[in-house]
Symmetry: C2
Subunit: 383 residues, 2 copies
């Protein structure tokens, strides 16, 4: 299903030989129209990979005919040659599809600071184009995996139109966005400015609030392509909600597959003075290594939650803070609350509620525990 669940799209995923282990590493998604409106959101890291710099230019026209994605190399910090390689990749896709290169978005993921093997990538584009199919969404989703253990897809179908998508990402997950490539497609008939509005609204409260390890990638890209093939123009709010649902589902899949994680942690900040305060506090808790280790050890260590809250500039009084872990209010009024022995930490999902007692705003950040497996994976895998 994935990106080909919506009508008007074909996709392929093949092994071009970029990855030395022979796994699939090249995906192609093509909008067969009749429309080709598109929107994109990119990493806010100031060190941007060549494909991000290229695709940002492509998206300025609001038109995308195809997206080519490779795993096995991020093409980041690769200088002018890296940018030439991205450009050559777009040119190759344009050539085989009979489109203009400026309509071809490029995404790369993998090791930073290494040039892509263009002698393998360019023939791979031809091979991918030959295997394009209306059923190719699954294979495309598989070809963009790096340390992902599973491929991630999501589809929402409404009355006569569909939003579908695929995502990759398992580490370097943090706001703005994650090490994360996402392609969403829809057969709804919409202009690029509507797509852009819906996509930004959706990513702001989904991918931007997934923070696995606090590390922001150089390559993050989320694209939304509309073919118009369904011949339906949905109401904005209904469409925006469908996009949000797909983004939320894919974001959850990213967290559940985060490198080395054994716990998915939902950090819900309530009664904040502002939404910004709620997000700042949520991120501070989500990034606290000591707390993440404690959760790994199934220790409801609320003191580490309070010390994380204390580092923020959010409005709160220390002696009015309350913290619940899995439904037990272990901290009340900044001090000892209910018996921590009551907290059941056996399950994968852990729910932390931080009550700032300072207003009525709320935000939820998702993160993971910090584990020896995360350390092993990231000290052994050069990425």
């Amino acid at each position: 299903m994935s990106v080909t669940a919506a009508k008007g799209f074909t996709a392929a995923g093949i092994a071009a030989g970029i990855k030395e282990n022979g796994n699939p590493d090249l995906a192609l998604v093509v909008n067969t129209g009749p429309r080709r409106a598109a929107a994109g959101v990119f990493t806010s890291n100031r060190v941007k990979a060549a494909p991000v710099l290229w695709s940002e230019q492509v998206l300025k026209s609001g038109q995308v005919s195809a997206v080519v994605l490779n795993s096995g190399g991020a093409n980041a910090c690769t200088g002018p040659k890296g940018f030439q390689d991205t450009h050559a990749t777009a040119e190759k896709v344009a050539e085989v599809l009979g489109r203009g290169a400026i309509e071809v978005a490029v995404c790369s993921t993998g090791l930073i600071g290494v040039l892509l093997p263009m002698d393998k990538l360019l023939p791979g584009v031809e091979k991918a184009a030959e295997s394009l199919s209306e059923h190719g969404g699954e294979k495309a989703a598989i070809a963009i995996k790096t340390t992902d253990t599973v491929h991630k897809t999501s589809v929402v179908t409404k009355d006569g139109w569909t939003v579908g998508g695929m995502a990759k990402g398992a580490g370097m997950l943090a706001p703005g966005l994650a090490t994360m490539l996402v392609v969403l497609t829809t057969d709804a008939d919409l202009d690029d400015d509507v797509l852009d509005k819906a996509l930004r609204a959706a990513t702001r409260t989904t991918f931007d609030r997934v923070d696995s390890d606090g590390c922001m990638s150089t390559n993050d890209t989320v694209l939304l392509l509309a073919s118009g093939a369904a011949g339906v123009t949905p109401e904005y709010t209904e469409f925006a909600e469908a996009v949000r649902q797909v983004c939320d589902d894919l974001g959850q899949q990213l967290i559940r597959d985060a490198e080395g994680a054994s716990k998915d942690i939902k950090v819900e900040v309530i009664n904040a003075a502002t939404e910004d305060d709620a997000v700042e506090v949520g991120r501070s808790i989500a990034r606290n290594n000591l707390l993440k280790c404690a959760i790994h050890g199934e220790d409801p260590n609320w003191g580490r939650v309070l010390s994380a809250i204390g580092t923020t500039s959010a409005a709160f009084e220390p002696d009015r803070l309350n913290v619940a872990i899995n439904g037990v209010w272990v901290c009340k009024n900044g001090g000892v609350g209910e018996d921590r022995e009551k907290v059941d930490m056996r399950y994968r999902e852990v729910h932390i509620v931080a009550d700032l007692a300072a207003g009525a705003e709320t935000a939820t950040i998702w993160t993971n525990d910090l584990t020896a497996d995360y350390v092993h994976e990231n000290s052994a895998y050069s990425s």
Copy 2:
């Protein structure tokens, strides 16, 4: 030596039974005069432990006669009862020494959110007072250990006067300050405003730039006590430099004993537009979990350095950044530099230089690698 290297101080370290394993857990440092000027720097965490709230008030007078320190419990997030306990501890010290309670600073370290066993602590104060000695500095340094594997002391002796000190801290090390208790003493004859100036200048470039795990404690305290017993008033610059040296030495000892660490990482940011930029970039690099894992794996993964720099607001151009790891410029002009195979990562100290090519300012942040041992220690030890 430690806090009793300077004349005019006695100290003791005993086992009061606060720690269940029977290890030393209570230290007392007494200024026997003739002067008792003092200065203090405290955590910038807004969630402050009871002893921090108390000692901040004590230091307002610029006079400290004694410092009582306990390990085995942080007395943080313990509400009004916790504050009463700190107050009762100061009263007890005042009583046994015949001083005023408002001249007694209190420091605590250990688990957050648990009340101290006052039935053990108060008799412990009496026991400590009985064993006060001009040679007690070492025992005091031992009694404040938590997960520290070694006790930390440092002494600088100049022409007729001395600055000495002790420190504890092994995790939750981050700016403003670390989970760190430090008591410095001097027999120089100086006013509290001079002590304050010298202490703030010293901590700004030493303890404040030690960032083991990005987590800021609720209990950090650095105290500097002057007895005047040497009868010498040194020049300010000479005194300030001696204080800086002791702080720097103790800060280095904290990093070398950080929980689970196998590498000490010196992050030196050069050619920054401002010192603030240099510190911001240094902290961002020092807190990047992916980089810290890579260093643990002896992988000179400069891409993770660049992605960390890219998250800051410092002045720089991505294509002018240079990065050296252990003397090899593995990244030049934002791209691939010298062969990363040349980097020798076998030794404990790792030196990362980030050249922002944007000015002439510099700053150095010290951190550690992220290891499975850190995870194990902090998922098993409730602190």
